[in-house]
């Protein structure tokens, strides 16, 4: 160990910026090796024709041109919109309703204990491994001996015992329902925490004015927790565009691509069809779409915040 310098150091020592560079070295080197370089390599692969062995052959924009006329590619991105509905729109709407309810009725009538137990229960699907819950759902929805259809047949509703995940007509709505189940706890927990910040007197004043429940929700709840609604929407949208594990476990993108999504499409291009260049192009387009959507959302939020502060 170096001998400890006796005496004091000046405040300038702490302010000196150069002395901090060594702390960035391990993190930045690993970041470059694991994220930046692979991303750049992926970009390069997307301009090549390559089956994963031998030398990649440069073909310029050909993969991208092919993508533009590939119906699976367009289906997968159309399904991304369905994923956003299932992971962002529906859970956020239900989450708002439930969080406001907790806050308004249950919290006051039964005390915070009941509210926190309910909150934990809703959050449970977010904590368990996606694959474990996905496998459970696959079994529940299995057409012949699965839990749901067994119950439906037992009560005489045989006509409702559909091939939920195996029929192109029902597969996408079924997957979306399972995703809502996965996601629902996240907005509830965030919104409930946010509502604790809201002054109860606001509500009481509104109640005295005779404002109905729905009006209070629109005029008080939503404006008060807008920052949280934005964060939930942004992070949810980013993860909805990249959703992979539930699709892998529930349907494998099928039947007939009806539940295929970009991340799964690129995965199968890489590893089952050995079209590395093509898969890399899909992944690159996906990355651009995610960054673009996130950027637009952040800009939009910044602008509406600014408008608010100018009011």
């Amino acid at each position: 160990m170096a001998p400890v310098k006796s005496g004091r150091r000046s405040a300038a020592y702490i302010r000196s910026r150069v002395g901090y560079w060594p702390y960035l070295v391990p993190g930045v080197l690993l970041f470059i090796a694991v994220i930046v370089v692979p991303f750049a390599m992926n970009l390069y692969f997307s301009f090549t024709s390559w089956r994963g062995i031998g030398e990649p052959e440069w073909i310029g924009l050909e993969n991208y041109l092919e993508l533009a006329s590939d119906s699976t590619f367009w289906i997968s991105f159309r399904n991304s919109i369905a994923m956003v509905v299932a992971i962002v729109v529906i859970p956020t709407a239900i989450g708002l309703l439930l969080a406001a309810t907790f806050f308004d009725f249950i919290g006051r009538r039964f005390g915070p204990r009941v509210a926190s137990v309910l909150r934990a229960l809703y959050y449970l699907p977010q904590v368990v491994p996606v694959v474990a819950a996905g496998l459970l759902w696959t079994w529940i929805l299995q057409p012949q001996t699965g839990g749901l259809n067994t119950v439906l047949r037992a009560v005489g509703l045989d006509s409702l015992a559909l091939n939920w995940l195996g029929d192109p007509e029902t597969a996408l709505p079924t997957v979306m329902s399972v995703l809502v189940w996965f996601q629902i706890g996240y907005p509830i927990v965030v919104f409930m925490a946010a509502l604790e910040r809201v002054d109860p007197e606001l509500y009481e004043a509104a109640e005295m004015d005779g404002a109905p429940w729905f009006t209070r929700m629109r005029a008080i709840t939503i404006p008060q927790i807008r920052p949280e609604i934005f964060v939930v929407t942004l992070t949810g949208t980013i993860s909805a565009l990249q959703v992979f594990a539930p699709i892998y476990v529930l349907t494998g993108g099928g039947p007939e691509n009806s539940t295929n999504v970009p991340s799964y499409f690129s995965y199968t291009s890489f590893f089952t069809r050995a079209q590395v260049g093509y898969g890399a192009a899909i992944a690159t387009v996906l990355a651009l779409v995610v960054l673009l959507v996130a950027l637009v959302m952040i800009r939009f939020q910044a602008r509406s915040e600014k408008e608010d502060s100018e009011l």
Binding site: W139, E204, S266
Partner: protein, 289 residues
Amino acid sequence: MSASASLPAKVRRSRHQRGATRWIVLAIVAVVAIVVLLPFGVMVLNAFKSPQDYASSGPLSLPSSLYFGGLTEFWTRVDFPQKFMNSLLIAVTASVGGVLLSLLNAYALGIGRVRGRTWIIVLFLLANMLPHEAMMYPLYFIAKEIGLYNTQLSVAIIMTVIRSAFGTYLLASVLSTFPRSLLEAAALDGASRWQVLWRVVFPIARPTLSVLLVFFFIWTWNEFFFPLVLLVDNTTQTIPVALASLTGQELTNAPLINAGALISMLPTIVFFLIFQRTLARGITAGSVK
């Protein structure tokens, strides 16, 4: 509570008059809770039910006698203890490593305020949004080239860096508000930067670091994509990958699937119960930032 007691009687009465809305809303809350919990309940019931029992009385009845065949079949089939250890090894390495890297990075960015920090932070932020598919194949290729393919180490390193990208972004903004006077006082006492990091910054940032640690652990434990691609061997795979290998014919084996899902969920549920407060704090703090 005292507030509601002091409310004028008129208001309290009018609340009771709007009973219908309240009951509708309460019914929605209850229905959603039941729908969320039902799959878990069905899982527990059927994990201990023999195939004959299931065939005769269906998924919603209590098992007529406790059956452990599904549990033992899953346990030995996937060699659960080994998968558990693999998951544990990767999750511990990536969460501890991820927090450590985040702290070092954030110390330079948030407290050291090194030149170009804004751009570096933006880069880390962008990395968080990047789909993993957009770096998957090169990582798979590199891992094969350098002999790390099919090792727990490959997944541990990748997850460490991905977690640190998130942690750096979060911690850098937390540490940028760190009281300068504390740092300067420590320097006047003769502390080096390294000593300031561990004796001043670390103790104060500890609550945030523990939230990060808990989240990194559970995220990595549940991670599916990288282990799926990089771990092909029974001796290296994690719990989610082993579970995903149950397909086709096995999906009609009710006790096997339910017991497998139950055993695989148990560690995370126990973890959730232990760290519930920390998790709740993290979700709250992370959402405001």
